[in-house]
């Protein structure tokens, strides 16, 4: 029996190739993402472990926030001396390292990375742990010398002798590049500028007396943990966070982890799509192979093979396919990981592909996924094969499965679909974001399953409509292609399902993103009253001198500053919420339209006052006039009176939780030295918008990272950001389409083989090759468009429901991108044509006589 199985596997290897490809793709994405994240983690673990001091003393950072104030938390530089005196400390050094700088070259171009990693300015301190070494030039001495890292020098063409301008928080200054420092380990992608230790504190923090952390090395025989304990005892742990090298590496990896997780989840998302779509492909292939081999299987049964043996034979074939696919997939996965690592290099993260990490779970997962998916997908067809009766060997069996009733499917699909619809209805009706989101997820999942189950039932009615015009347009060729698509609803359904899944996701996401764009547009129209907003490209705060220069620009009338403060509020209901509060100048009403339910801007921005979102206040038992304790970084606490409640329902999704805002003076009082995040600028009387724009652009020219935007620019910016989400969606779509095309090709190719005699007959009675090709193409198109229509319908429902959930976050506008939808339908028809190319060619090349005589 095993021999027969092997023979059969080898005999059908061509027909199994496309299924194998689906396995390869899913395994490749799984393996690739695992290898990639393992490699990156290992590299960074090493980097952090090798560069962290035995014990690091940093300011307590309970209030870290997404929206930094621009102020750098510091420790006194003198703490280094104090730490050095602790018994067991071999050496201690006051580090200065800041990320709130922009470094530009003499042509006013930023030398920093444009893709996320920060620009870091720090003091040049040579230790055994330093991740860089001086490879040319000399160490910086005095206030106007600096080193840059080799990667940055390379990328931005910075040479020794060049002059750079460092825009730091205390003020910008010029330095000459006197040396190049090269990474000895992996460069995480940041741009580094090193200053002389003697001047770094003053230049970067505004005071030689401050440092950002203290690093201490242990004397021989003292463990890191012991050292940490001793230092903690000596300096007190209230204001400082002490970390051993291991802890530091762990927390650094954790921060990096969120970024890596994103990549990992995206990759796993791709893998998921590939697996899901691959399952359909494999089910279809095995179903068809078994239908074609009905007589052969009947013969096996007649010769005495029992059901179990037949089933096992099919499953063995599936397992072989899974093993072959997984092995190839693993190899492709490694290539994919190498590709990703190269890609990261383009974005500035110089990983070494030679240090590829393949841990044991990777191949195990790859094989489990590959074999598991194939086995599961082949299980139903295998059972069907086992059900073939010995009589089948003697009868001229037509393709089995075509005519079997779909009642079970109708019932199962109906039940699951009803549950899914109920969940979606619940999510629309729900008024709480959390429960609505989980209902949405459940509804999406259930309706998808229901559509997959009930897909074959929808084949008849939908394709009748879709192909209704075919007979009129293409005559009997059109009629035959429409009927061929209807011939085996299960097969058509499963083939189209692959495309359906991808397009449903795309449909849903594009409705959601179009709605988001529209909501943001409305929001911008409604709330932004300023002529221009001056903001950093990455929304980080910018140096004070920019504010000063903008104020001094000709034609600038009013400037309202926005500055964020990380805060924690203790609310009357006992919760402590960590969030960011925005500080504004008092003339906010001139540049923004805020709807108040209680109080007004003056009350919110007054000294000792604050504003809060009415909904947030209601949820936490705050009323207008309540006094709320607010914690600021550095342990300072203020009791602020809630002077105004705003109706930010429209805006909740746009800002930090709670919608807290207060006077800029209040922020300045509790966090001195902060940087502004945005400037709302109105033109002075008599200055036109164009003139003001020109003036601002001149002023901002030396600061390439900062832009002035009006409403239209702002909308475009938001759209661009949402577009990033869409690109991801399109990439997913691309993958789904590739596999779906494989599925359609697969189905058509096997159908062509199945219908060999029919094709021979058609050719004999006068169907031209061209017409035959058209027939197959039209069948393919109708299957693809069926998948698209089903998918987009499902996607539209999901999208509308998603928008209802987003509406709870203030995104009340619903936009349906009809253009995209129509384009996708047309695109799917094109996909159908493309998928039919090879099968059609193959059919038209068939020898007429051989085809007629085909058994």
């Amino acid at each position: 029996m095993l021999k027969a199985t092997l023979r059969s596997f080898l005999a059908h290897k061509g027909r199994l190739a496309l299924s194998a490809l689906a396995v390869v793709l899913s395994v490749a994405f799984v393996a690739g993402s695992l290898i990639f994240s393992d490699t990156v983690s290992r590299t960074f673990d090493r980097l952090f472990a090798s560069t962290a001091a035995d014990v690091t003393v940093a300011p307590e950072d309970d209030l870290r926030s997404q929206l930094p104030s621009g102020a750098v938390a510091t420790v006194p530089a003198s703490l280094a001396a104090q730490v050095a005196r602790v018994d067991g400390v071999a050496s201690a050094h006051a580090d200065v390292s800041v990320e709130n700088v922009t470094v530009v070259d003499s042509r006013r171009r930023s030398v920093g990375p444009t893709t996320g990693p920060p620009t870091i300015a720090r003091d040049w301190e040579v230790t055994g742990r330093s991740p860089v070494e001086l490879t040319s030039g000399h160490a910086p001495h005095g206030p106007d010398q600096a080193l840059v890292d080799a990667d940055t020098a390379d990328r931005k063409h910075v040479r020794i002798g060049d002059t750079l301008t460092v825009l730091a928080q205390p003020g910008s200054f010029r330095v000459q590049v006197v040396g190049i420092a090269t990474f000895t380990t992996t460069n995480p992608g940041a741009a580094l500028v090193y200053l002389d230790s003697a001047v770094a504190g003053e230049k970067l923090l505004g005071s030689a007396e401050r440092a950002t952390s203290i690093s201490a090395d242990a004397a021989p025989g003292v463990s890191d943990t012991e050292l940490k304990r001793r230092i903690g005892a000596a300096i007190g742990t209230g204001d400082y966070a002490l970390k051993t090298a291991d802890e530091r590496a762990a927390s650094a990896t954790e921060q990096l982890g969120t970024f890596l997780d994103v990549i990992k989840y995206v990759m796993l998302g791709f893998a998921g799509i590939a697996v899901l779509v691959g399952v359909f492909l494999i089910v279809n292939t095995f179903s068809m192979l078994i239908a074609q081999r009905t007589r052969e299987l009947g013969l096996l049964r007649a010769l005495g093979a029992d059901r179990r043996q037949v089933r096992r034979s099919v499953l063995t074939e599936a397992t072989l396919l899974g093993v072959a696919g997984s092995t190839l997939g693993l190899a492709v996965g490694i290539a994919l990981a190498v590709g990703l690592i190269r890609l990261m290099g383009v974005f500035g993260m110089n990983l070494r592909a030679t240090e590829l990490v393949v841990r044991w779970p990777t191949p195990v997962t790859a094989y489990v996924v590959g074999i598991g998916v194939t086995f599961v997908a082949a299980y139903l067809p295998a059972r069907r094969a086992a059900a073939v009766s010995p009589m089948a060997a003697l009868q001229d069996a037509e393709t089995s499965g075509a005519g079997r009733p779909l009642r079970t499917r109708a019932v199962a699909g109906g039940i699951v679909g009803a549950a899914g619809a109920a969940a979606l209805a619940g999510c629309v009706a729900s008024s709480r974001t959390a429960s609505a989101a989980s209902l949405l997820g459940l509804g999406v999942f259930l309706t998808l399953i229901a559509t997959v189950i009930a897909g074959p039932l929808l084949v008849r009615p939908v394709i009748r409509v879709l192909g209704a015009a075919f007979p009129a347009l293409f005559g009997s060729v059109g009629r035959m292609s429409q009927r061929n698509a209807l011939r085996n609803p299960r097969r058509t359904g499963a083939t189209a399902a692959a495309l359906m899944v991808g397009l449903a996701l795309v449909g849903g996401m594009s409705v959601a993103s179009a709605s988001m764009s529209k909501s943001f547009d409305r929001q911008i129209d409604r709330t932004l009253g300023a002529d221009f907003v001056v903001q950093n490209a990455n929304f980080m705060p910018f140096p004070q001198e920019i504010t000063d220069k903008v104020r001094a620009t000709d034609g600038v009338g009013l400037v309202v500053r926005q500055r964020f403060a990380p805060v924690a509020v203790r609310l009357p209901d006992g919760t402590r919420v960590k969030t960011s509060a925005a500080g504004y100048d008092p003339q906010i009403d001139e540049v923004a339209h805020i709807t108040y339910t209680a109080g007004d801007s003056a009350a919110a921005l007054a000294a000792g006052g604050m504003g809060m979102d009415a909904g947030f206040a209601r949820d936490h038992g705050v009323r207008a006039g309540s006094v709320v304790p607010v914690e600021f970084p550095g342990g300072r606490t203020a009791r602020l009176r809630v002077g105004a409640l705003t109706d930010q329902e429209q805006a909740e999704g746009f800002g930090p939780q709670g919608g807290l805002f207060l006077g800029l003076a209040t922020v300045e009082k509790y966090i001195p030295g902060g940087q502004d995040s945005a400037l709302y600028v109105n033109a002075a009387a008599g200055t036109g918008a164009d003139a003001l724009r020109a003036g601002l652009e001149r002023t901002l020219a030396p600061y390439p990272q900062v832009q002035a935007r009006d409403q239209a620019d702002y909308k475009k910016l938001v759209h661009d950001q949402i577009a990033v989400l869409l690109y991801l969606v399109y990439a997913l779509l691309g993958l789904a389409i590739v596999i779906a095309v494989l599925g359609v090709v697969n189905t058509l190719a096997l159908s062509v083989v199945e219908r060999t005699r029919e094709i021979g007959l058609l050719r004999a009675i006068g169907l031209a090759r061209r017409q035959l090709r058209r027939m197959i193409r039209l069948e393919s198109v109708v299957i693809a468009v069926f998948g698209a229509v089903l998918g987009l319908t499902l996607g539209l429902v999901w999208g509308v429901c998603t928008q209802q959930v987003l509406a709870l976050q203030g995104m009340t506008a619903l936009a349906i991108p009809w253009g995209t939808i129509v384009a996708v339908v047309i695109g799917s028809a094109v996909v159908g044509v493309a998928a039919a190319l090879l099968p059609a060619l193959r059919a038209s090349r068939m020898n007429v006589l051989a085809a007629i005589a085909h058994e």
Binding site: S476, L486, E758
Partner: protein, 278 residues
């Protein structure tokens, strides 16, 4: 005990001209030493308006002859004409059009497209050509073949005999110059087989069609006007106004040297039955 053909002998259509012709028709399979000659320099004329049967044992080349005459197969040497058109040397597109417009086909089995109704199957070649069938002629063909109440059915809903009648109707609808029938009764029981043969006979006698039928069944051949006997790729004999018994007798001569096969045994039995019915 008159044979069916003998009954029709008196009302035989005048043989004005030749519907198809082959000269030196040779078809070889394989190359070099393993070459097998399926047809060996065959010269044949298919008379217009007559019912010609091609007989021969398995492997005699009778199907190959039909395929070459019908433009389904290429020839190794020689020439084939359909009417005045030389079809040897035509390209696939022209051959396809020729089959579509000028030839009708019936095969032993799998004659119909399963997804189309009987009517759609009948009109298929004309639909493919983009032509409208003559409604009066369509009615006549449908009524002659007794398919009126079966037109909306799919092949799976028709009996074997009905399926062959639909195929027959399809072959006749475009009034082709030539109808080729390849073992049209091979898969039918004797009653349905007789019915189909009767229709082919009628097509020749009443509708003026030209029919070439390949068969190994002497009983079927007896319905024709002329039987061509093929053996080893050559036409070895022919018989006008055949009877089943005479055809069977003649067949025995050609297969005499070969051991008796199940096929010839079946022939004997069938001839006996046919003779009994007649």
């Amino acid at each position: 005990m008159p044979s069916p053909a003998a009954e029709h002998a008196q009302e035989k259509a005048p043989t004005d001209g030749v519907a198809a012709r082959a000269r030196g028709l040779t078809k070889a399979y394989g190359q070099g030493e393993t070459t097998v000659l399926a047809l060996d320099a065959v010269d044949v004329d298919i008379a217009r308006g007559r019912f010609t049967a091609v007989m021969g044992p398995s492997g005699s080349g009778k199907s190959t002859l039909m395929h070459c005459l019908a433009g389904l197969d290429t020839v190794s040497a020689g020439q084939v004409w359909l009417g005045d058109t030389e079809i040897t040397g035509l390209r696939d597109r022209e051959l396809t059009r020729l089959r579509r417009d000028r030839i009708g086909f019936m095969f032993q089995s799998f004659n119909l497209i399963p997804t189309l109704t009987a009517l759609e199957n009948i009109t298929l070649p004309m639909d493919i050509a983009g032509r409208k069938p003559d409604p009066a002629w369509l009615d006549q063909v449908v009524d002659t073949l007794g398919l009126r109440d079966r037109l909306g059915h799919r092949p799976a809903q028709l009996s074997g005999g009905q399926q062959q009648r639909v195929a027959c109707a399809r072959a006749l609808l475009s009034r082709p110059e030539l109808v080729f029938a390849d073992e049209p009764t091979g898969n039918l029981d004797s009653r349905a087989g007789l019915e189909v043969l009767g229709f082919l006979r009628e097509a020749v006698d009443d509708l003026g069609q030209t029919v070439v039928m390949v068969t190994h069944d002497p009983g079927a051949a007896a319905h024709s006007d002329l039987v061509l006997f093929l053996a080893d790729g050559r036409i070895v004999d022919e018989m006008e106004q055949p009877t089943a018994a005479a055809v069977l007798e003649r067949m025995r001569l050609f297969t005499g040297r070969a051991p008796r096969t199940a096929e010839t045994d079946a022939d004997v039995r069938r001839v006996a039955e046919t003779a009994g019915e007649d």
